[in-house]
Symmetry: C2
Subunit: 227 residues, 2 copies
Amino acid sequence: MHSELGQIPLFHDLPTPIFSQIEAATVLRAVKRGEVIRGQGQPVDQVFVMKSGCCRLVQHTKDGRDVTLTTFVVPGEPIGLVIALNDGVYPGTIEVVKSGELFQFPATLVRKIVEIYPQFYEKLLHEVHLRLREAHERIRELSTERVEQRIARSTMRLAQKIGTPSEDGTVHLNIQISRQDLAQMSGTTLETVSRTLKLWERDALITTGRERIGVLDLEQLASIAEG
Amino acid sequence: MHSELGQIPLFHDLPTPIFSQIEAATVLRAVKRGEVIRGQGQPVDQVFVMKSGCCRLVQHTKDGRDVTLTTFVVPGEPIGLVIALNDGVYPGTIEVVKSGELFQFPATLVRKIVEIYPQFYEKLLHEVHLRLREAHERIRELSTERVEQRIARSTMRLAQKIGTPSEDGTVHLNIQISRQDLAQMSGTTLETVSRTLKLWERDALITTGRERIGVLDLEQLASIAEG
DNA sequence: CGGCACGTTGAAGGGCTTCAAGCTCTGTGG
DNA sequence: CCACAGAGCTTGAAGCCCTTCAACGTGCCG
């Protein structure tokens, strides 16, 4: 089976024997927008690597509010690999934001990889470290910044992670994203997001539509984010 | 030189040659409350492991506000080891909260450790993973919870990490901690912390004093944290 | 074309910040 | 030893940012 798993940087340096073993156990799975891959609190039995499309990690609170923990998981990035090493559970629901495909293989294989090839730890460490930095950033933002700044930052993060520039200079967020989604990423409410986007549209910073955002003036958005 | 470095779990399984090399390069450094070990943005030249006392990681914003990123770094925990692998800079100021001692050795040695003994990655990965979980928790709290809840959580986290129960059932936070400090950990202002602590004291949940907090009723504090 | 999810807009109000002034504790030096 | 300075703490008042609730648009799909 030729799964194209070898194209993922995470697996580039793996010795052939273990790589073949993973490849043999890997399923390529097509997922659709809205689909829930794994639920919050579920044991990590299978792990995933994005091939195309994208996902997010959402944490649900007792009183029914949702918080998006990560910026979107894009192709090449792993889901659950580190937790698999600790026999842990998913800290939130893995939800598909943009239809695509993901590689899936049993969590037990992760431990086999690092046993045979401990350098694999380095890649995982790098990945987790990046997410920690990002998390720290968000803690600072949530602690000190105003809502409008935080929405601006979320928008910019999206633009740089999944945006595709079109010929007219607009950065189009090539994804369906609702006011509610942005609110969960910024620690605010959908109403406030709606009002804020409306203001920005009036000032020609962005274009908006139903579950659609286009960034016109990234610089001014950045200046809002900075205060 | 007998540095007691071997007592740190992080270094338990290290092969003798590399351990000796580290031990030889390690300095035991006494630090006092208020001392700044390394500044935000400074390259990671030296790395540290707490031996006694404790530290915190504080991020400074442009407009002069401070945010405490980690709960306190307690004995046995490392500072800068992961960043040393990426030739990075300190993401915030390392500040001593309680006088004590820390081990210090050159950042370049960290790469040597993992080259010779890649399993060391596992320990680092575990450490970073714990902090990421904690960071995600705080993001959820900051996004969805009221100030009083967040102050309650900060207080409880402190109690469980550095608290020492005394005979009368009080959990004494064996550390000097100001209203301002708690505010930085909870994403609020010192005035709000002051008012909140006063309320709790009136209701016999805690005792307070200048830079001092004692927890009387951990359960009720928990119920406030939960809403 | 009707239903439904998403989005807009208004009004009310509250939680928290901000500013300000005064108080208390602690360590220090005369 | 005591006064004093300074850091930490308390308390009040004003007000704003944002949430919350509610009602009504609007776009999309079967």
